[in-house]
């Protein structure tokens, strides 16, 4: 069974790194298979970009994401362009300060987090993607959360490890609280 994940945003947000970390966690720490492909325009920063991750227990044949079960949106343009692709029952995650969804399907599981604001509060908005990955670890069962955390620490410059670990944990805790809140409402 392949799980397809689409991560969208704009150049400079670390969208490709986010996909890379997810794939790395699945491949190197969970010993599964993953591909990560990227899509961007000729411009270096500010243009739309996306990364596409496929995770599976089997070797992956086709690396494009066409029917994602998980979508992570870090820009309004990325959300609008791609949201129709998300499968029924899929998980839609977005940065609540950057994306204002006009309408959301009731077939999706929806989760949002002010990832960029949290990252700014922690001293560097470049860590928004890491906050988001922590959030992913909490609300989606894509990879082992500890594998993901390990992959984050391996992927960031050594001097920034502590800050990135804190950013990851912040996103993970926020996600955990959301899940707890929803569980309470259901009971």
């Amino acid at each position: 069974m392949e799980t397809e994940i689409l991560i969208t945003g704009f150049g400079g947000q670390g969208i490709v790194l986010t996909g890379n970390i997810l794939g790395m966690a699945a491949t190197l720490y969970d010993n599964r298979h993953a591909t990560m492909t990227q899509s961007y325009g000729p411009e270096a920063r500010g243009g739309s970009c996306s990364s596409q991750v496929v995770i599976s227990d089997e070797p992956i044949l086709f690396p494009y994401v066409e029917n994602p079960q998980v979508m992570i949106c870090m820009s309004q343009a990325g959300f609008q362009k791609n949201c129709a692709m998300l499968q029924e029952g899929g998980a839609m995650l977005w940065d609540s300060d950057l994306v204002k969804p006009a309408e959301l399907s009731d077939q999706w599981r929806c989760y949002n987090i002010p990832a960029t604001r949290f990252a700014e509060e922690m001293g560097n908005k470049m860590m928004a993607n890491i906050v988001m990955l922590g959030f992913v670890a909490a609300v989606c069962a894509l990879v082992d959360p500890e594998s993901l955390r390990q992959a984050v620490l391996e992927s960031v410059p050594p001097k920034t490890r502590d800050k990135n670990a804190a950013a990851f944990d912040r996103g993970r805790e926020y996600g955990g609280e959301i899940l707890k809140g929803r569980a309470r409402q259901e009971h």
Partner: protein
């Protein structure tokens, strides 16, 4: 660890990075190039890694100079490579020919994007396949490999170096944007488990050495500058002694020698893999990233009861002519998915020689072939063939 040439272990890296690591594992110690999307990551990694292993990285003023620098480095005794994409590959064509006529081992990796001209810098294409074969002027043979994964970017780059050293010519790694930019698991073996081939060196006394006299395997030993042998390297037609010889007999000898060393060793060069050929009615013949589209289409088709087979071309030049001829005589059709409007399919059709229908599944570039489109072509040709 960082100073090791062979990064033994499991990695999650992209194809461009894997290409660079394959080069280092094969003994490459010189890279000259000019960054270009989607091949930049090869150069970027080489610029960091080569100084760690005592090698040299030069960012050149353009791709013409890059190719020239490779040839010089190779004659200086180093294993040398460059990486580029369409526009740079076009600029390299003249000096690629110089590499062929001077029988200079080196490796060129072309991470193909959409063309012509600047085209689609960040999006995939497979439309330089005929340029790879005939892009430089004059008559010659070439070797080109097509990796379909980051792992094969590593493995095939090593093989490209080995073939270039063994047969003394520039060898092309014809990758593409998706293979280059895709991250996937790459296993790098222990250094001792990697087969590395070195060019033949002369063993005779310097006074008896003829730098372009082929031995029984069709390949002449190579003396490099500083080895103590008298050598002359020219792009003019030359005799076995390396000096210009402006006459038709010398041209006949030299060009035949360039062609024969590849033709007589075809079996050692050509590499392909097959899947489900035993009962296959329709066979997909694919190379590079299109192998993965084909393999997905094959699984989908088999699930629906279609008897599909797959031929995965690891080398595209020289083309496996005899194998395809035999195959065409026992299947209902051959289909080639490729990201162009018909290049390698022409060679497939030529080799099939009318024994079965041959169809292209192609488009002009920008994305990889959708498996569903391949399956539609299979359905269409099955209807026709009934």
């Amino acid at each position: 660890m960082a100073s090791k040439a062979v990064l033994t272990g499991t990695h999650f890296m992209n194809g461009d990075e894997a290409c660079a690591e394959g080069a280092l594992a094969a003994g490459c110690r010189f890279f000259a190039g000019y960054p270009i999307t989607p091949a930049t990551e090869v150069a970027e990694r080489m610029s960091r890694r080569l100084p760690q292993v005592g090698g040299m990285y030069i960012q050149m003023e353009d791709e013409i100079a890059s190719m020239a620098a490779l040839l010089g480095a190779s004659w200086g005794g180093k294993k040398a490579m460059t990486s580029t994409s369409g526009p740079g590959f076009s600029l390299m064509m003249e000096n690629l020919g110089l590499g062929i006529i001077t029988e200079t081992p080196c490796v060129v990796c072309n991470v193909q994007r959409g063309g012509p001209s600047t085209g689609l810098p960040t999006l995939v294409g497979q439309a330089d396949m005929m340029q790879a074969r005939w892009g430089s002027h004059g008559h010659y043979e070439i070797i080109a490999l097509c990796p379909s994964s980051p792992q094969e970017m590593f493995d095939f780059t090593i093989r490209a170096f080995n073939l270039s050293e063994r047969f003394r010519l520039p060898v092309l790694v014809m990758a593409d944007e998706v293979v280059g930019h895709m991250n996937e698991r790459v296993l790098i073996p222990e250094e001792g488990a990697i087969e590395v081939v070195e060019r033949k060196r002369p063993t005779c006394a310097p006074g008896q050495f003829l730098p372009y006299r082929p031995e029984a395997d069709g390949v002449a030993p190579m003396a490099c500058f500083g080895d103590g042998y008298r050598i002359h390297v020219t792009g003019l037609t030359h005799g076995e002694n390396g000096y210009p010889a402006m006459e038709d007999r010398a041209q006949e000898r030299m060009v035949n020698s360039l062609v024969n060393k590849i033709k007589m060793n075809r079996d050692a060069i050509i590499s392909y893999e097959t899947e489900y050929l035993d009962d296959a009615e329709v066979v997909l013949v694919a190379y590079g990233i299109s192998v993965r589209s084909a393999r997905r289409a094959l699984r989908m088709g088999r699930d629906r009861g279609l008897r599909l087979g797959l031929v995965k071309l690891n080398t595209v030049w020289p083309f496996p002519e005899e194998f395809i001829r035999g195959l065409a005589g026992r299947v209902r059709a051959l289909i080639m998915p490729e990201i162009n409007l018909g290049q390698m399919v022409l060679e497939l059709e030529r080799c099939a020689g009318g024994r079965c229908p041959v169809r292209l599944v192609g488009h002009a570039g920008g994305s990889i072939i959708r498996p569903g489109v391949i399956l539609s072509a299979v359905e269409d040709i099955r209807k026709e063939a009934v």
